[in-house]
Amino acid sequence: MIAAAILAILVTMVLAVIRALLGRTVYDRILAVNVFGTKTVLLIAALAFWSGRPDILDIALAYALINFIGVVAVLRFFEYGAAEGDEVQGK
């Protein structure tokens, strides 16, 4: 049954990666990367149970932290209205 959860998480990751590649706006990409990050956290938690080694849950925690810091960093350096070219207007 954990296999079902892992499969569902993998499917979601595929969808998020496609959105990150298609992009349109930079914000779409940030959103997709963020979703991918939380899904990786869940994937690692599920894999920890699948392999019977819950030690690796620490990594899931570290992931959650880094994912958040990453999103904040992207926004901090991207600033407001800084996009050039077609990235922001594309609808």
């Binding site: 049954m1 954990i2 079902a4 959860a5 499969l7 569902a8 998480i9 499917v11 979601t12 990751m13 595929v14 969808l15 998020a16 496609i18 959105r19 349109r24 706006t25 914000y27 779409d28 940030i30 959103l31 997709a32 963020n34 979703v35 939380t38 899904k39 956290v41 869940l42 938690a45 599920a46 149970f49 819950p54 849950l57 620490d58 899931a60 925690l61 959650a64 932290l65 994912n67 958040f68 999103v71 904040v72 926004l75 991207f78 407001y80 209205g81 800084a82 996009a83 922001v88 609808k91």
Partner: protein
């Protein structure tokens, strides 16, 4: 009996969480503009992660693993909506119009 019940409940939670995840992913991919996508992604996100982790907690029982999972879910519950909020705010400042889709729709209908 209660062991079976807990097992059953845990599987239900995991499957529901997985379903929320996939629905959020489809929404992220298929919805027409950024603000509807962030809606799909973050709303289902905050259902998916706690459900799956709660299911795993029921699997592990009262151990250190559960404590770690509790930390994980608290952390995700704090940061995930915050990230979505900050992102949406930055997008509005960055010049994305939340009403663009509605306006286009109204125009098409005349």
């Amino acid at each position: 009996m209660s062991a079976l019940l807990i097992d059953l409940l845990s599987w239900v939670l995991i499957v529901v969480g997985g379903a929320f995840g996939v629905i959020g992913g489809i929404g992220l991919l298929r919805l027409p503009d950024f603000f509807s996508r962030i809606h799909a992604a973050s709303l289902t996100e905050s259902m998916c992660a706690p459900c799956i982790i709660a299911g795993l907690m029921l699997q592990s029982g009262m151990t250190l693993v559960t404590v770690k999972l509790v930390f994980l879910v608290i952390f995700l519950f704090l940061t995930s909506p915050t990230a979505a909020h900050v992102l949406a705010k930055a997008a509005i400042h960055g010049g994305l119009d939340p009403g663009a889709l509605r306006d286009a729709d109204a125009e098409r209908r005349g």
